[in-house]
């Protein structure tokens, strides 16, 4: 009995964490290149609605996922052109992008409200995926495994590859990177596209895997959590994974507590718990390190133009 509850908690936890993890991982790469894109929520929503629309029309969840990635990149490119090519303010443009994404997804999704599709199924065969307790490991869909692989991939990319080194260099000191001869703007375009792709995929996880139906503002502010996690994780993929899963865990706890009918704690306090716990834990992890301010990419949010 106990193990059944535990397995179900793990399943909920992983599902709740994955979209945040994806979006945050994309934003981490964007910020490492020195760009602050506050439009994560907007990109998630356009990804979510594009994914749902395509999956609903074609009946293929796989095509829906591809569409969500393309939609995320397309939305990110609006931001990239405005901030990189036209050197618009990144904060204002990012906020506008979120507002745009909310509106665009409502408009496109208007005809789909309440419609349902077949949700994204587990990756592994029925035997493993439905096993009472093995399903905690093998019962997830492909996006979950992909997101974990991406954490490892991004971590290795940033720390161990030359391309990752150049990306970090662009975020640390764009003028120097330019002086050495690296294409600062081009690298940032690529990073923003990657961020858009993962945000779109994270958004689609809501509409294609978590709740396989369309509702307005489906992502419910998770894009903002992703943004905060990037900062609190000190721009480190490993901590990002921890932060995202911690957030998912406390959220699962909140759901369980509600289901169990706990009344001595106000539901509002429970709803706050995931946010508080995440901030608390990640802040405590950053304490006691004197070089804290060196974590942020030095050129984060600063516009760059070739003079």
């Amino acid at each position: 009995m106990n193990s059944v509850i535990l397995v179900s908690i793990i399943m909920t936890l992983v599902a709740a964490s994955t979209p945040i993890l994806l979006a945050a991982l994309g934003e981490l790469v964007v910020e490492k290149s020195g760009v602050l894109n506050l439009g994560v929520e907007g990109m998630m929503l356009t990804g979510a609605v594009a994914g749902f629309a395509v999956a609903f029309s074609t009946g293929s969840v796989a095509l829906g996922l591809v569409a969500s990635v393309i939609a995320g990149i397309a939305t990110a490119m609006i931001f990239a052109v405005l901030t990189l090519s036209l050197t618009a303010n990144q904060v204002a443009t990012g906020l506008a992008l979120t507002i745009f994404g909310v509106g665009a997804s409502s408009l496109i999704g208007a005809g789909f409200v309440g419609r349902t599709i077949d949700r994204l199924g587990p990756l592994f065969p029925e035997v493993l995926a439905s096993h009472p307790w093995l399903r905690a490991l093998f019962g997830h869909d492909i996006i979950v495994y992909l997101s974990l692989a991406l954490v490892l991939g991004v971590s290795v990319f940033l720390r161990r590859t030359r391309a990752g080194l150049i990306l970090r260099a662009v975020g640390e000191n764009d003028a120097s990177a330019h002086a050495i001869g690296y294409p600062v703007i081009g690298i940032r375009y690529a990073a923003i596209a990657f961020g858009g792709a993962l945000a779109g995929l994270g958004g689609a996880y809501f509409s294609l895997a978590l709740t396989p139906m369309w509702a307005d503002r489906l992502t419910a502010g998770r894009g903002w959590i992703a943004l905060a996690l990037v900062v609190f994780s000190a721009w480190k993929p490993g901590r990002l994974l921890l932060g995202a899963y911690l957030f998912g865990a406390v959220m699962t706890f909140e759901l369980q507590a509600k289901a169990a009918g706990i009344t001595w704690l106000a539901p509002e306090v429970l709803a706050m718990a995931p946010y508080l716990a995440t901030i608390l834990v990640l802040t405590m992890m950053s304490l006691g390190r004197k070089t804290g301010r060196l974590d942020a990419p030095a050129c984060l949010g600063k516009p760059f133009s070739v003079s």
Partner: protein, 521 residues
């Protein structure tokens, strides 16, 4: 002028510039520039700030494109569209403001400067080899922000050397180095040149060019005014060619009229700010009306902290630690100290002494409002502010379009002149200034030094914190040395020998001498 005596006409020049011109809106930065550099030659490019040296080397390194003229390399005409193309030819460059990444390690920074991907282990071996063959001390695994300026420069040099350059461009390499580091750099450069690599050495420091270079091309206002052999020319003659006027001698008129004690610092102790701050330990000195007190020392020994403690950016727990004209101000903030007549000019011009995006007039308000009626009752008197800024611009010969010009638009020397003028124009009782002529060309430096001397002559006490020993010996009446946050007792400059100061800067205090030194000369 004279031709170079190194007439190695048998070897073709490595680099020839002919008729290179480059204009920016409103300025002709380079106008018909021609010169050539031979293999293994150390060639100086000499000129004041704004003479067009930096633009010229950017053209050679492919960062910028010339409007007209041609460049040839080993006798072949070439075009250099990008830094990458320059490096492919064999041109390496060490920038004045290093193109380094603070949060990364030395080895990562070196890897970033290479055009091809090199395996990490192989790169380590190659770096170790270069470090060893040029005896450069540098730890490849350290993060850059923990390194001294000299070590940072070595990263750039190693980065260039790994590409086996045939022309190395050094842009003002010594502007931030200590004398010891300069000597070390020169040894490295001589070794590099002896292996056949040409060096283009950009500087406005004449004695360095005399010590190092085979040939000097002198630029003024974007044009070549002379080519000479620095070994044969006097520094004075080169300086006059460079600034295009007779060099002014500083008239030291103030000596001998030393008055009352205006600033007394006693037992000032402040812990350093983490992570890299130096602690101030039991600092005591006094500065008297009519005198200039010099504080020498190698960078990072507490100069910035001392200036912060004197200006009031950091407060002392003991009010009596700093006495200004008999009043304890140790616990007063910067504004109160300014009102009382203690003006400070920090080392960093843009961002500390001035707000880069503010106009000169606005920058004038920021510090001058305490002593001048520029903003009574919180309202700015625009006409008075403009008049004050204009007066400073006129009196200190600040080259700018006017008081409305943003601070960032001024060259380093001109902004420094404006900042000094702004403080001196308030007639402070005590002026503390750090690195007053750092990165400033010879003409402006002379004007700034003269202004300091004149201020002291009028009865103010002047404290000059500087790493430029020549400057201190020229200006100061008494000199002390700061080392690891401790200040040696001031001694009259006339009694000091240079090597003695050098030892004190290195931390050898000579306790017996110091104790015996008279505090009141």
């Amino acid at each position: 002028m004279t031709a170079s005596p190194h007439d190695r006409t048998d070897t073709p020049p490595r680099l020839v510039l002919s008729g290179v011109s480059k204009s920016f809106p409103g300025v002709k930065a380079n106008d018909d520039i021609s010169f050539s550099v031979k293999p293994g030659e150390i060639h100086a490019l000499l000129g004041e700030n704004g003479a067009g040296k930096s633009t010229l080397v950017k053209v050679i390194y492919g960062v910028q494109q010339a409007d007209s003229g041609s460049i040839s390399w080993d006798g072949q005409p070439v075009s250099i569209p990008s830094p990458k193309a320059a490096r492919r030819l064999g041109i390496g460059m060490v920038f004045q403001h290093f193109s380094l990444f603070d949060a990364m390690t030395v080895i990562e920074n070196i890897a970033l400067g290479l055009d091809e991907a090199v395996d990490r282990e192989e790169l380590k071996t190659r770096v170790a080899k270069v470090l060893q063959s040029y005896s450069l001390p540098l730890d490849p695994e350290r993060e850059v922000h923990t390194l001294s300026v000299g070590e940072r420069q070595r990263i750039e040099i190693v980065r260039c050397l790994l590409q086996k350059p045939r022309l190395l461009i050094m842009d003002e390499p010594t502007s931030v180095l200590t004398p010891q580091e300069v000597e070390r750099l020169f040894e490295t450069l001589r070794q590099i040149a002896s292996e056949g690599c040409s060096i283009l050495y950009i500087s406005h420091k004449l004695h360095e060019i005399k010590a190092l270079c085979d040939t000097a091309t002198i630029l003024r206002a974007g044009r070549v005014v002379a080519t000479c052999d620095p070994q044969q020319e006097t520094t004075r003659r080169m300086a006059e060619l460079m600034i295009g006027a007779e060099l002014r001698q500083i008239e030291n008129t103030h000596s001998g009229r030393i008055g009352k004690r205006r600033l007394i610092v006693s037992g000032l102790t402040l812990p350093g700010e983490p992570p890299f701050g130096t602690s101030l330990r039991d600092i005591s000195f006094e500065a008297r009306a009519g005198e200039i007190l010099g504080i020498a020392g190698v960078a990072g020994n507490g100069q910035a902290e001392l200036l912060g403690a004197l200006s009031g950016e950091r407060l002392s727990a003991v009010p009596n630690a700093i006495m200004l004209d008999g009043k304890p101000v140790g616990s007063e903030g910067a504004g109160a100290r300014r009102s009382a007549g203690l003006a400070c000019v920090p080392e960093e011009r843009n961002g500390h002494a001035a707000v880069p995006d503010f106009s000169l007039a606005e920058n004038a308000i920021l510090t001058a409002r305490y002593r001048l009626p520029l903003a009574p009752r919180g309202f700015i008197r625009l006409a008075a502010v403009r008049r004050f800024a204009q007066a400073v611009i006129g009196r200190f010969d600040v080259r700018t379009t006017g008081p409305g010009s943003p601070a960032r638009a001024l060259s380093g020397g001109n902004l420094q002149k404006f900042i000094m003028g702004r403080e001196i124009g308030q007639e402070p009782g005590v002026l503390v200034v750090s690195q007053p002529t750092w990165g400033v060309d010879a003409g402006a430096a002379a004007a700034i030094r003269q202004a300091l001397v004149d201020l002291a002559a009028k009865g103010s006490a002047v404290v000059v914190i500087s790493q430029d020993l020549d400057e201190l010996l020229e200006l100061a009446d008494r000199l002390s040395v700061i080392n690891e946050g401790r200040l040696s007792p001031p001694r009259p400059v006339a009694e000091l020998a240079i090597d003695e100061i050098g030892l004190m800067m290195g931390g050898v205090h000579g306790a017996a001498q110091a104790e015996g030194a008279p505090l009141h000369a």
